[in-house]
């Protein structure tokens, strides 16, 4: 036994202790429990992964559901795919926990924040370790819950609670798809266990598998913020920045990618569904990148960047390069967490200012943050030999071999990515300082995790995930082609240069371009009016329908009418019946006796007839 259960149990213990008793603890105690539990969990995960061979480790704890022939156990399993996720989740999670100690130092509800964070770790690890779909779904819903709780952490802010609700409700759509997929799997396979399901895939008809795969994709789209269900993620930036880094960049939103990769045998037997994954990924990547070009809120930029990068991962997975998708998942976790934490550090330095138009020139004032953030920006732009280069390259190569036009769209998107990230960098750190606050460098407890993540962003690409997962995914690896690599690197470089040209060399050029392309700019700036379309197409009809049909019609008309009718009818009867209510207990008893005689008579007669 490898005692896999310890990995999620430790954060859960931390959650229980902090959640129940945290109010009475000092901050250092809360820190020690929260950070310590996650760190030990990381070490245990590391120990487990180091002892991992080609075979998976499987542990059965107890039977959870036994209903006839259908059986779901509480099982954990670790294979090479899980191993990557485990280390990313616990490793990045630990760093972000440490960072949070500094970031949240002056916030109310300190213990509550760490309790939620630990709870999130517990559910995320359950999701990753689960050896069947149902347990995965438990983690899936659990991280959704924690996401909701943490987005709405500042629950006194109306926008924060609204964003939490939005995330929760949009995710419901995806979860509905996932639930349907699970039901389909139960009907067709009779089990939810990964190993059994994947063994039985070969003999099943393709339409069934395609349906399952598409429904799973709906779930993945919800959780991983893919078009058309991406709308919650930008709003989720209302939560504290470490939450954005941990949940909405590094770990939870990648659950969809993980789930699709985990279900790869199904997808391999449903090529049209896999194609769909690629289309959605590619479209989301390009679409979100364009929105990212014009955002002014630093966290919003990175949020759309996250959506875009997740689209990349889907593209990789959809074109059959599962290991490339996971590769990018890992490197993305490093540099996107770093971007968010860096952004958080900037916001911290400016005491809560998030608008980039009020920043600038911070390079010298907060050098640690600047340098680390720069590493992340370079990594995401795909400059060799930084982490992002390798994984993005692997995806693009795979896309080229799948369909060349996909490669070109992806490459342009890469250029856009480099542009908007460096736009954010230049607006924030270069030029004149345009704000009013006095910037101050963050404490070491925040900068040290930044440094750690910066190292990972620089050298993380040398952790060759495709090699590690070579035998895991039975898909032929696309051969490297130097020309393609050069083109994508060039796209990144062009993006950086354009950003430099527009924001450093000729400031003002950006404004003139945006005014010249007024209509297009407004369209992109308002995020293609997707929220408004959803509002008009979905939210308004539902609200109006509820108001007219459910409230006026069903509630006021039917239910109230029935209730009031019952009331007035009883009143009428009661006026007559109240004569029996003499207040004299003995007359009541007489009536009870009368009734019991009638009962006795009836029962006796029935008995006599029988």
């Amino acid at each position: 036994m490898h005692q896999l259960w310890l990995i999620p149990a430790l954060p859960f213990a931390g959650f229980l202790i902090n959640g129940i008793l945290g109010r009475r603890f000092s901050k250092s105690t809360v820190n020690a429990i929260a950070v310590g539990s996650v760190a030990i969990s990381f070490l245990w995960a590391l120990k487990t992964v180091l002892g991992l061979g080609e075979e998976r480790i499987f542990e059965h704890y107890f039977d959870w559901i036994v209903a006839g022939g259908f059986q779901v156990g509480c099982d954990f399993a670790v294979d090479r795919l899980t191993a990557v996720m485990l280390l990313v989740v616990t490793g990045v999670g630990s760093l972000i926990h440490v960072y949070s100690v500094g970031y949240m130092a002056h916030e109310g509800g300190y213990y509550r924040f760490f309790a939620y964070l630990n709870l999130f770790m517990f559910f995320m690890l359950t999701l990753v370790l689960a050896a069947n779909y149902l347990l995965l779904f438990v983690g899936w819903e659990g991280v959704g819950l924690c996401s909701y709780l943490l987005i709405g952490f500042w629950f006194r802010k109306k926008s924060a609670t609204n964003a939490g609700n939005k995330a929760f409700i949009v995710n419901r759509i995806g979860d509905f798809g996932f639930s349907l997929a699970m039901l389909m799997i139960v009907i067709n396979f009779g089990t939810l266990d990964f190993a059994t399901v994947f063994q039985g895939v070969a003999g099943k008809p393709e339409p069934v598998l395609t349906t399952i795969a598409l429904l799973l994709l709906v779930g993945a789209c919800g959780k991983s913020a893919q078009f058309p269900l991406y709308v919650w993620l930008p709003d989720a930036m209302e939560g504290p920045t470490p939450v954005s880094a941990l949940i909405h960049a590094a770990t939870m939103v990648t659950a969809g990618v993980y789930m699709v990769s985990r279900s790869f045998p199904i997808y391999l037997h449903a090529p049209s569904a896999l194609e769909m994954v690629a289309y959605i990924g590619l479209f989301t990547a390009a679409f979100a990148a364009t929105i990212g070009l014009v955002q002014n809120d630093i966290k919003k930029v990175f949020a759309y960047s996250t959506v875009s990068q997740l689209g990349y991962m889907f593209l990789g997975v959809g074109t059959g390069a599962f290991s490339a998708g996971i590769y990018h998942l890992m490197t993305h976790a490093f540099f996107k967490a770093l971007l968010f934490l860096g952004a958080g550090s900037v916001i911290h330095a400016l005491s809560g200012e998030q608008d980039m138009r009020n920043m600038g020139g911070l390079r010298t004032k907060i050098p640690w943050t600047f340098w680390t953030l720069l590493m992340a920006a370079i990594a995401i732009s795909g400059v060799p030999p930084f982490a992002g280069f390798f994984s993005k390259d692997a995806i693009l190569v795979s896309a080229y071999h799948h369909a060349p036009w996909m490669y070109w769209v992806g490459t342009i998107t890469a250029g856009l990515t480099a542009f908007y990230v460096f736009r954010a960098m230049f607006l924030t750190f270069f030029g004149e300082y345009r704000g009013h606050e006095h910037p101050h460098e963050s404490p070491a407890v925040m900068t040290l995790p930044l440094a750690g993540l910066a190292l990972l962003s620089i050298f993380g690409g040398f952790i060759k995930i495709p090699v590690w997962l070579e035998k895991f995914f039975p898909v032929a690896e696309a051969p490297e082609e130097t020309s393609l690599v050069l083109i994508s690197v060039a796209a990144g470089a062009i993006g950086i240069l354009v950003a430099y040209w527009m924001y450093i060399a000729k400031p003002g050029l950006a404004d003139s371009i945006s005014s010249r392309l007024g209509g297009l700019y407004r369209l992109v700036y308002n995020k293609y009016f997707v929220d408004e379309i959803y509002d008009a197409a979905v939210v308004k009809p539902v609200v109006a329908g509820s108001r007219v049909v459910l409230w006026r019609g069903v509630d006021a008309g039917l239910i109230d009418g029935a209730v009031n009718g019952v009331g007035s009818t009883s009143q009428g009867f009661g006026g007559w019946l109240k004569l029996f209510q003499s207040g004299n207990i003995r007359s009541y008893a007489t009536w009870v006796l009368f009734g019991s005689i009638i009962l006795l008579l009836t029962l006796g007669l029935i008995g006599a007839v029988r």
Partner: protein
């Protein structure tokens, strides 16, 4: 022998029960009721319910009725007042009562005609062991619910009887 014992204790029970109803002083009623319970305990023994017979005396005669007498003594309840009346009970009570008694006796006779005679010792399933086995296996849930009921009753009694209510 069985008939004689039954008749003796049935007559004691009925006489005491009549006494419960006709005595005007609560203490006399209570003592008569203890008599009913005691003779019922003997009848239980005749029916082979030895554990229940003892429980009847311990619980009813030994605890419940002591509580009654305690309260009667505490309130110094005297002879019943003549005031107050209930027309319904007065008018309908007696005919209904007679009807009830007639029906119950008729159906008892009808569904259990004379044949099945009761002999002391014919049924030995009422020992403490039998009751315990049934109580702690088949009827465990009701038993536990009962304990909750008693706890609630204790709390209720304490709250009700407090001075500052």
């Amino acid at each position: 022998m069985d008939v004689i014992l039954f008749l003796i204790f049935a007559i004691i029970a009925v006489v005491c029960a009549v006494n419960v109803v006709v005595q005007t002083h609560p203490i006399s009623s209570a003592i008569s009721l203890i008599g009913v319970m005691g003779s019922l305990a003997v009848l239980y023994l005749l029916l082979g319910a030895e554990f229940l017979a003892m429980a009847q005396i311990i619980v009813y005669a030994g605890a419940v009725m002591v509580l009654f007498i305690f309260v009667i003594m505490l309130l110094n309840a005297g002879t019943e007042a003549k005031r107050g009346r209930s027309l319904t009970a007065q008018l309908l009570g007696l005919p209904l009562l007679i009807a009830f008694l007639a029906l119950a006796s008729y159906f008892s006779q009808r569904f259990y005609p004379g044949g099945a005679a009761v002999h002391f010792g014919a049924f030995k399933g009422g020992t403490a062991q039998n009751i315990g086995m049934a109580l702690f296996t088949q009827y465990l849930l009701p038993f536990e619910v009962t304990s909750a009921l008693i706890l609630i009753a204790i709390v209720g009694a304490v709250v009700l009887a407090r001075k500052e209510l």
